[in-house]
């Protein structure tokens, strides 16, 4: 939750960034590894290896392989054993993590500045020399089963997975968490790595180190990696539909999404403003209701009802929608209130509402550059889309958004086929078409 004091700090920060020439250029090593860095004066650094081989690029019949590939990060390589990597990381005081998204797999090391070369070398081995042994596969499969059961017990995760699945079916609709039936062997993984862990699908991004230095390190660590070819993206098609998930919980969840905008497009910024306009977030701790229409609707329903808006942007598609959580008796009222807020926004938006939404959207975008994890994520995504967006560029893009654009975008959303996910005691929950 954001407090007012932290908001003030960020707003002060923006002019300083301007002065520092906050620009990131995306360069490449000779075999095609993209390199982007954001040097800041701090004693620590964070390096991420981003591989453009997320869940959407899984080959047919190998559903869940990206999840396995993610969990095989930092396992035995030709040069170092998994044990050695762990111990050496501990000795230099680093933290390793792996992350899987719909578009990318990323491996991150956070460490002191002087240890960056070591971790870049480890990334080089990870890409070229991971052994994918059978005995490790058994351990990885167990980890994956545990991760999946944790994810399954979280209704929010289940709703987000289901809504992508219903909206896009394949590609972006592929689940991030491996399905219980996924049957992945070590030779599948070796093939997946050979096809996807190639220089043209790799990006090395970092904060806390200069780009030149990082490029030098990348050139030597990834020297033996085949160039391969960049990912061939099948154009994402939006389908829409309905998924009902039976779940034993006292709180029911309804999410309704529409075809949104791809990240980085001007329409995406409009969508961000609409998201902030509908709101639902509480900015002041312990406050009962915000000024946004969704927060007001939720507080009217009461009993812990929560309504919020979401906007997911991917390289070539997006998903915009509203999400209601409430007791089974009131959840359909909450979802209807959310839809009518969206309908109202498609008709007209007052200047005051627009001003508030614009400020919040700008703040949210600027604050994503505040944390190192999200900065690496942003840099990684930009490296593959080949457009560089700094905080300043993003804020400029927001200034071009007009109130009229936001209404028009809302109307456009409503004209697309809705995607509905209901989760809870499904026999008591409404069908999507009953909510409009």
């Amino acid at each position: 939750m954001l407090s007012i004091s932290s908001a003030r700090k960020t707003i002060n920060l923006v002019p300083t960034l301007l002065k520092a020439g906050y620009a990131t250029a995306i360069s490449k090593t000779s075999n095609g590894v993209k390199v982007a860095a954001l040097d800041e004066s701090s004693p620590t650094a964070s390096v991420s290896l981003v591989i453009n081989a997320g869940a959407r690029f899984e080959p047919k019949g190998k559903s869940g392989i990206a999840h396995f590939a993610k969990n095989f990060g930092f396992k035995n390589t030709g040069k170092r054993s998994a044990f050695r990597i762990t111990r050496e990381t501990e000795l230099v005081g680093g933290v390793l993590s792996s992350n899987l998204g719909r578009e990318n797999i990323s491996f991150t090391a956070e460490c002191l500045k002087e240890d960056v070369p070591y971790f870049v070398e480890v990334f080089g081995d990870l890409v070229a020399q991971t052994k994918y042994t059978d005995h490790e596969l058994h351990a990885v499969a167990k980890e994956i089963a545990a991760e999946c059961s944790v994810a399954e017990s979280s209704p929010e995760v289940a709703v987000v997975e289901a809504i992508h699945n219903a909206a896009f079916r394949n590609g972006l609709g592929n689940p991030i968490f491996a399905a219980p039936y996924s049957d992945i062997t070590s030779s599948d993984l070796k093939k997946f790595a050979a096809d996807n862990f190639v220089a043209n699908k790799l990006a090395l991004v970092a904060t806390g180190i200069s780009e030149e230095e990082l490029k030098g390190l990348a050139a030597s660590a990834f020297a033996n990696v085949a160039s391969g070819s960049a990912t061939n993206i099948e154009t994402t098609k939006y389908y829409g539909g309905e998924i009902r998930v039976p779940h034993n919980s006292s709180i029911a969840h309804i999410a309704i999404a529409f075809q949104g905008a791809a990240a980085g497009t001007s329409e995406f910024y409009t969508a961000q403003v609409l998201r902030s306009l509908l709101g639902g977030d509480r900015f002041v701790k312990w406050s009962t209701a915000g000024v946004s229409p969704l927060a007001a609707a939720a507080s009217q329903i009461g009993h812990g009802a929560q309504i919020s808006a979401f906007n997911f942007g991917y390289s070539d598609a997006g998903l915009f929608g509203v999400y209601a959580q409430a007791e089974h008796s009131s959840v359909s009222e909450a979802a209807k209130a959310a839809i009518s807020s969206l309908k109202a926004a498609s008709k007209s938006i007052t200047a005051e509402e627009f001003k508030r939404a614009l400020a919040q959207a700008k703040f949210e975008t600027a604050s994503r550059f505040e944390s190192r994890a999200s900065t690496n994520e942003i840099l990684g995504a930009q490296a593959f889309q080949d457009h560089k967006i700094t905080t300043i560029d993003a804020l400029d893009a927001f200034d071009k958004v007009q109130a009229g654009d936001v209404s028009k975008f809302a109307a456009k959303l409503l004209s697309s086929k809705p995607t509905t996910v209901v989760l809870g005691k499904t026999s008591e929950l409404p069908y999507g078409d009953a909510l409009f």
Partner: protein, 123 residues
């Protein structure tokens, strides 16, 4: 995995291997495990952490074949017989299927031991 060995030197030298190969063959015949249909790696002492881990890492079909050979040997032993000449394991079938895995596991154990006894770390 065991103490000092000169096996590589012996293998490299034509004279030494020529001298010792017949002795080795006589030893293997006297040991008699091939007459029970077993491979050398089947009769390694199982009760150590390293070998247990190595057996655990065997591919499934390799492990089944290992257990099958042991059962066969057990039957021969029960009936106080040995395999007929054509059923005796041939020298070229006496594959060291477990030894590479044992070496790998032993290296991992040694590495772990080194890190556990590390005194200082400098770059």
């Amino acid at each position: 995995m065991s103490g000092i060995t000169l096996v590589n030197q012996v293998k490299a030298s034509k004279f030494l291997s020529g001298l010792l190969q017949p002795v080795a063959n006589a030893f293997v015949n006297a040991a008699g495990y091939r007459q029970l249909g077993m491979r050398y790696d089947d009769i390694l002492r199982e009760e150590t952490d390293i070998i247990r881990e190595a057996i655990h890492r065997l591919p499934e079909e390799e492990n089944y074949a290992r257990v099958f050979r042991m059962k066969t040997a057990f039957q021969y032993s029960l009936s106080h017989t040995v395999a007929t000449k054509e059923n005796t394991l041939k020298a070229e079938d006496d594959i060291r299927y477990l030894t590479p895995i044992i070496d790998e596991v032993a290296a991992e154990y040694a590495e772990r031991e080194d890190f556990n006894n590390i005194k200082s770390f400098s770059k």
